[in-house]
């Protein structure tokens, strides 16, 4: 972000043109999506109605959309944070998965359900954060010790985590609920009520949980750290020129470790929110797609926390709408993926023209 370089007017111009291009990319992709719906011989108005219904049609769907956005937003914020140091974390899905596993394990078997002061849900949340942080830290250690490209390592770790999740819910020795019959689903028991996150309104028809204010606070804190603190500048320096940064006394290892651990921690937190706040039962594949959606939100935002929030909301609503579209209007959710892919490619290519304009 040009908070310390450009003069006011050119800063504004860059932000405006980036915003313009982002909006344009979304609109174009949306139009393509509508076109595809049309070509599938589905009534566009039906599909759109189902979409809107799924996003804001009822308090329940609105809360669900926002809850989704929280998960994407956290992964996106983590991505932006690490990206400031030129580290690309694509392992969001895996970090969510291990976060969910840790949260469920502690909630069910950690003996926390009778603890006071909200520790019943706070401790599982912390476990989720720790698990995610460790998952991110593994990639950091590999990068520091062996120079491993973090794109590949976080990606591989993500696959491993997803299969770890599968293993966890399949095995009775782990978190699978006791099999009473051959039809028992591979999933965990439901977590005790005290470990579930309190709702903001206490009303289950509008299940917005405390994850929302927590996420907003995190977004503000991260934004401030990146823009105004010494550590934020050190992050940026390491990202731009690691050799000069080392010479200037900034610890490369410490910076890489903190960046990826924080990114992982935020992903883990997202997983914790999903389990303790919405789903209450650990199931196979619960993180499916969330990692990439959050990643794309981070990429779209081009370094801005506000951008991440906007993109996360967009994708949260897109997803909710997409799910309803599939249930009601038989439009596969894969359509949403097509739209997302188009947005990413368009924006990545558009960066070229933005560079030209600045020069």
């Amino acid at each position: 972000m040009a908070t310390d370089g450009a003069t006011a007017w050119s800063f504004g111009r860059i932000v405006r043109s980036q915003l313009l291009i982002s909006v344009a990319a979304v609109l174009v992709a949306g139009l393509v999506g509508l076109g595809l719906i049309f070509s599938m011989h589905v009534s566009v108005s039906d599909a759109v109605a189902a979409f809107i219904d799924g996003t804001i049609g009822s308090p329940y769907s609105l809360a669900a959309s926002i809850n989704r956005s929280i998960a994407f937003g956290l992964v996106g914020i983590g991505f932006v944070f690490a990206n400031r140091a030129n580290l690309v974390n694509v392992g969001g899905e895996g970090q969510i998965a291990v976060g969910g596993i840790a949260a469920t394990a502690v909630a069910l078997y950690g003996g926390v359900q009778d603890l006071p002061f909200g520790l019943a849900f706070l401790l599982p949340l912390l476990a989720a954060v720790a698990a995610g942080a460790i998952w991110g830290a593994i990639a950091a250690v590999l990068k520091i010790k062996a120079g491993t490209n973090e794109v590949i390592s976080t990606l591989l770790l993500s696959f491993i985590a997803v299969w770890l999740l599968y293993w966890t819910v399949q095995s009775e020795h782990l978190l699978r609920k006791p099999m009473t019959s051959s039809a028992t689903l591979p999933e965990s028991l439901e977590i005790p009520d005290t470990t579930k996150l309190p709702l903001l309104t206490g009303d289950y028809s509008f299940p917005l949980h405390i994850g929302l204010p927590i996420t907003i606070v995190i977004a503000i804190v991260v934004g401030v750290v990146l823009a105004r603190t010494l550590f934020g500048l050190q992050l940026r320096t390491v990202g731009l020129n690691p050799v000069a940064a080392t010479r200037a006394g900034i610890s490369y290892a410490r910076t890489v470790l903190i960046s990826l651990a924080v990114a992982g921690a935020l992903g883990g937190l997202a997983g914790g929110f999903m389990l303790l706040g919405e789903q209450y039962v650990l199931k196979d594949g619960f993180s499916s797609g969330y990692g990439f959606d959050g990643l794309v939100a981070g990429l779209l935002a081009r370094g801005s926390i506000v951008g991440v929030i906007a993109a996360a909301l967009l994708f949260g609503f897109l997803r909710s709408g997409g799910i309803n579209m599939e249930m009601v209007a038989a439009v596969p959710t894969a359509l949403v993926m097509v739209i997302q892919g188009l947005i990413v490619i368009t924006l990545a290519g558009a960066a070229f023209f933005l560079e030209r304009q600045r020069a």
């Binding site: 010494l230 550590f231 020129n241 010479r247």
Partner: protein, 531 residues
């Protein structure tokens, strides 16, 4: 009729048709005008020198001729026909070859592979190519091992590979951009000799330089550039050298600061040291290096049993061309690399295993030879760069106090004459000279500065910046700072240092006083001959 066209007509009327004629060339990079209305003509078989300070536009001119950039205005003619190359491929096809300042060789490929690059698509008959290479090199009087890997060659050898790469295409025009900057004294002789021989075979040679000695030795005709414009020409450069210098720097050579004059390669400019600093007694020593050795990741010994002592206020010059252990020495002194053996002491403190932060705290300042690689972050602001190694002093409770940072930066910028629009502009917006001054500003204002290691500090700087840089270095010496000056420019060291130590293949060849009478001895040691 433009002045450019008139110049070309004048030359045409002499006798030969020009090989390459440039008329009114102009090139802009953003708001910087690198070249403005430049006109000149190259005759076949001549050695034409383009003389100018750093930043005068010489490299831009070459890049236009070679098709790396396209001119904004003006025209070029080759053999009387319009010449507008779309890229290097085009230029090569027209018979124009260029040896650049920064070599374009692939380090982990062999010599013969580098030569074959771009010559053919199909199966490579390596033996035939190797034989052809050896023959060509012999023709021009030097030896070449076709199967050596580039990364194992010295800088001088690599340049010969670049040259052979050009000559094998039998060019009609051969452009060399500052070729002698990285060579040993006798290698320079050999290169100029080679230029003569190539010219005798009918090829036109364009030799870009800022060294007056080379003009005297090699040039048939000279064109002088200053600030992107052609300001003088000469058909008899050896005779008219004073006028040329006057045009180049807009001043008299005699009035120039001696160190600045040395950067123009004026031999025997005399030592600027008013007095010889006291030879370092143990109490007086600010830096002591004992038996320092470095082994790189491939197991090659880069620094071998290096011993050196620097006293308070003393300037010790380390002579030697690039690639002989200078970067490893710099890495050791900045805490960036771990030595295989040996010790380093700054004052009383042993700093052998110190981190960069600890080195800075102990008072060791380093001006690296490639500031863009390790000395600065181009995208950050000038203020950020000036305080890069002590940003914490501007942080309270973790928050950066930007206004205090900018104010402190402004103060330093004034003191060190770093010219920029404001402390908040990106570092990349500064000229090379100003960037170097900013790096010096950072390093020379370290709280308890004891030692300064400056590596090629004036490379690429114009005369004004050179004067400023040495002014600051001398001020630091007067304050008692010990200076270790690493440079491949012998004249610079002779003008500035108290004594000179020669580094060759990681070992100290010998040391002597920095007196012009020692020039030959030092040159021989730089080439590896023990004294």
């Amino acid at each position: 009729m433009t002045r450019g066209a008139a110049a070309v007509r004048q030359i045409e009327s002499i006798s030969t048709e020009p090989l390459l004629a440039l008329e009114g060339l102009t090139k802009r990079f953003g708001s910087l005008v690198a070249l403005s209305d430049a006109s000149l003509a190259i005759l076949p078989g001549e050695v034409h020198c383009i003389l100018g300070e750093n930043g005068a536009g010489k490299s831009t001119l070459c890049n236009l001729v070679f098709g790396v950039h396209a001119a904004d205005a003006g025209a070029m003619t080759l053999d009387g026909r319009a010449y507008r190359p779309a890229g290097p491929a085009d230029a090569l096809a027209h018979g124009i070859a260029m040896v650049h300042q920064h070599f374009s060789l692939v380090p982990d490929m062999r010599v013969v592979d580098n030569i074959v690059l771009g010559q053919q698509c199909g199966m490579v008959n390596t033996k035939a190519w190797a034989a052809r290479l050896e023959r060509l090199a012999a023709d021009y009087g030097f030896a070449l091992d076709p199967f050596a890997k580039i990364e194992a060659l010295s800088v001088g050898e690599r340049q010969r590979v670049e040259i052979v790469k050009c000559l094998i295409r039998e060019p009609r025009l051969f452009v060399l951009d500052e070729p002698t900057a990285v060579l040993l004294p006798d290698e320079i002789e050999a290169l100029l000799d080679l230029c003569r021989r190539v010219a005798q075979k009918g090829c036109g040679i364009v030799l870009v330089t800022h060294k007056l000695a080379e003009i005297k030795r090699a040039a048939d005709r000279v064109t002088v550039l200053r600030g992107g414009r052609v300001v003088a020409r000469s058909d008899r450069p050896a005779v008219e050298i004073d006028a040329l210098v006057r045009a180049m720097i807009q001043g008299e050579l005699q009035k120039l600061d001696k160190t600045a004059a040395s950067s123009l390669g004026v031999a025997g400019a005399g030592n600027t040291r008013a007095h010889l600093a006291p030879v370092g007694t143990p109490e007086n020593r600010v830096l002591q290096v004992d038996g320092l050795s470095f082994v790189d990741s491939q197991g090659v010994t880069r620094l071998d049993n290096f011993n050196l002592a620097v006293g308070r206020g003393e300037i010790v010059g380390v002579a030697g061309v690039e690639g002989n252990g200078q970067s490893e020495l710099g890495a050791a002194l900045s805490g960036m690399a771990v030595a295989a053996s040996g010790h380093v002491y700054v004052g009383d403190v042993e700093t052998t295993k110190f981190t960069p932060k600890q080195m800075t705290q102990t008072g060791v300042a380093v001006v690296p030879e490639d500031r863009h690689a390790s000395g600065c972050v181009l995208e950050l602001s000038v203020a950020d760069n000036i305080f890069l190694n002590r940003l914490e002093t501007f942080a309270s409770y973790g928050f950066l106090r930007r206004r205090a940072l900018a104010a402190a930066a402004r103060e330093l910028m004034t003191r060190f004459d770093v010219r920029a629009q404001s402390p908040d502009v990106p570092f990349a917006a500064l000229s090379g000279g100003n960037q170097q001054k900013a790096v010096l500003a950072r390093e020379l204002t370290l709280p308890n500065l004891k030692v300064l290691l400056a590596s090629q500090p004036t490379r690429g700087l114009d005369v004004g910046a050179v004067t400023a840089v040495y002014g600051h270095i001398r001020d630091a010496c007067a304050r008692g700072v010990g200076v270790l000056l690493i440079s491949s420019e012998l004249d610079e060291l002779l003008a500035v240092a108290d004594r000179i130590v020669v580094l060759y293949r990681g070992r100290i060849m010998g040391s002597c006083a920095a007196d012009p009478s020692q020039r030959e001895k030092i040159g021989a040691m730089m080439a590896g001959h023990l004294q």
